[in-house]
């Protein structure tokens, strides 16, 4: 009843090409941004900022990065956590070693460093694909984490590679309180998400999708495979790198290389599977889902054990978590391979007709 585009005519090319062609979508996204930027900082508590909102935004960004590579360009990567690590350590080094380096500049440089490393590890994708490539990205995962642990220079000679980040200051303003950090992260994530949304609608994005669907065919119609694939690796690693820098600076404050383990890579992969492979919105939905699920289980399982009179100890809860994660991944891949984003789309289609059947 409310969600209907009847009567909205496109009279210019600009109107035809805007990101949200339907007015209700535009209003919705504006409302969402207002809530995120204004209402949430006013009402949310410190626990919400530190434990849910900030990590949610950061993981969304990382998932977005992986989604660009896996969802749009079709190159499965199991090394996204390593690129986050590159971003985190690069940002730290730029901050510590360059006097008076603005923090935003070091975030960008961290992203660029990660992009460079991403291109390096993306090179094999020109020769190999599919599973071989997925296994090859594991090389990045193990090699980078090892390097960060073993080369003392990279962590400024701290023991076993642990880094503690200095405080954040943008244009002379300190960003210490949780809501301030939240706003900083939110601004960066919103900007990068907008850029990603536009990128996947552009020539670049279409080339990625052509390569994903069949790279030989894409080559035949004149897409340069090398540029396209390496660009996907670079952009994806840039996003992961910035996410890693934010992860270190705005979320944890102190990180170690082992924190960026294969498990984190899998977690990010799960986010895009659950959220929707090849969808910007899906990255956000997936990150929220994967992040909230353990919190939900932590509350729900003890309650369940109380009701059923079953003794669940901490280990059992973590095993059940693993099982639920695994089962959910299989469930989504079987029932809805396009993830939550697809459900959202179906919901919107239904809403267009509601309350009429046709």
């Amino acid at each position: 009843m409310f969600y209907r585009e009847t009567g909205q005519f496109k009279t210019s090319y600009a109107a035809d090409q805007q990101i949200f062609p339907i007015r209700q979508d535009r209003i919705g996204i504006m409302l969402l941004l207002v809530v995120a930027f204004v209402v949430v900082p006013l009402v949310a508590s410190n626990y919400w900022f530190n434990a849910i909102l900030i990590p949610f935004l950061i993981f969304s960004l990382a998932a977005l990065g992986l989604n660009i590579l896996t969802g749009y360009a079709g190159q499965l990567s199991l090394g996204s956590a390593a690129f986050m690590a590159v971003g985190a350590y690069a940002a730290y080094n730029f901050q510590v070693r360059v006097e008076g380096m603005p923090i935003l500049a070091s975030f960008v440089l961290a992203g660029l460093t990660a992009a460079g490393v991403g291109i390096l590890f993306g090179l094999p994708s020109l020769r190999i694909k599919g599973f071989y490539l997925a296994v090859a990205t594991l090389a990045a995962q193990f090699f980078i984490v090892w390097c960060l642990t073993k080369f003392p220079y990279l962590s400024n000679n701290s023991s076993s590679g642990v880094i503690s980040v200095p405080g954040i200051e943008v244009f002379g303003m300190k960003f210490d309180a949780p809501q301030e950090r939240y706003l900083l992260v939110l601004a960066i994530v919103a900007l990068l998400a907008l850029a990603a949304k536009n990128m996947v609608r552009s020539t670049t994005g279409r080339a990625w999708m052509a390569v994903r669907d069949m790279d030989v065919a894409a080559e035949v119609i004149g897409i340069r495979l090398m540029c396209t694939k390496l660009l996907a690796f670079a952009v994806s690693s840039f996003y992961c790198g910035v996410a890693g820098a934010l992860y270190a600076f705005c979320y944890l404050g102190s990180v170690e290389p082992d924190g960026f383990s294969l498990d984190l890579s899998f977690k990010i992969l799960f986010m895009i599977i659950v959220g929707g492979v090849g969808s910007v919105l899906g990255s956000f939905l997936g990150a929220a889902f994967i992040l909230l699920l353990p919190i939900f289980l932590d509350i729900f399982l003890p309650w369940l054990s109380g009701v059923l009179q079953l003794p669940f100890d901490g280990a059992t809860v973590s095993h059940i978590q693993l099982m639920v994660f695994g089962a959910l991944i299989m469930f989504f891949l079987i029932v809805e391979p396009h993830g939550l984003a697809r459900l959202w789309q179906i919901g919107k289609e239904k809403l267009r007709l509601w309350p009429f059947p046709h």
Partner: protein, 304 residues
Amino acid sequence: MQFFFEVLIGGLLSGIMYSLVALGFVLIYKASGVFNFAQGAMVYFAALSLVGCLEKGAPLWLAFILAFVIMTLLGIATEKFVLRKMVNQSPIALFMATIGLAFFIEGLAPMLWGNQVWPLDIGLVDEPIGWILDRYNIVVSSFDLTAAGLAMALVAGLALFFQYTRVGRALRAVADDHQAALSIGIPLQHIWALVWAVAGFVALVAGMLWGSRNGVQYALTFTALKALPVLILGGFTSVPGAIVGGLIIGASEKLAEIYIPPVLTDIFGGNFGGIENWFPYVLALLFLLVRPEGLFGERHIDRV
């Protein structure tokens, strides 16, 4: 030089153990085109089931059979509830589903059998073989040698099974072409369940050998990560590739672990141990740049 040979032989023997895990991957990949990331979790599950049955008081042979039955059930369940529902999805989607399966099994196994580290004694002792030590002054573990012998016997047995039995022929037919196999009346779903059972058997042997050496624990799942470079080196579709790849990876990673860190320490200072975690991957990666389908893999021709 003696030391070099000692490291080399140790590496080759542990490489056989990697091959054993890689073999499970190859079997399933050949027969169903699924790249089964859960193989490592299956090794863990198999070893835990074996130990669990032993704990309940079963003798070793009975525990082995029981564990095999459990692995078969797991394989059939996987086929029925996951793979059958995912027919016609892309191989990458199937691969991601097996990552989910790996997590599921990693949660399920300790729920069923407990998550402590179990010792597993299958009557093999881990000590140097006397006469080699006397004659050449090289330490060769009798345990490793027995394990390698077992692995070789397993591979030979599988090769015979594939070559000379009716079921083996059906398996090879399915591996060649699903549709053609179906059209001549080979029951695809039985064959797949069977392949998963055989992979479960391989996982059980691997889990038994690895477990009796390091104890049965969660770390067994990491054997899959050791087997992956073996796979890409040898090619996903080749049983001999898994063996040769395992030998190359095993030998080279042990040699690298011994000989590379001192060089790095000379240049940069500091401690550079733990190279064996990534060295096989980088080696396999470099190798792929030269031969993208692995040593014995089938050359893949793309058609538009």
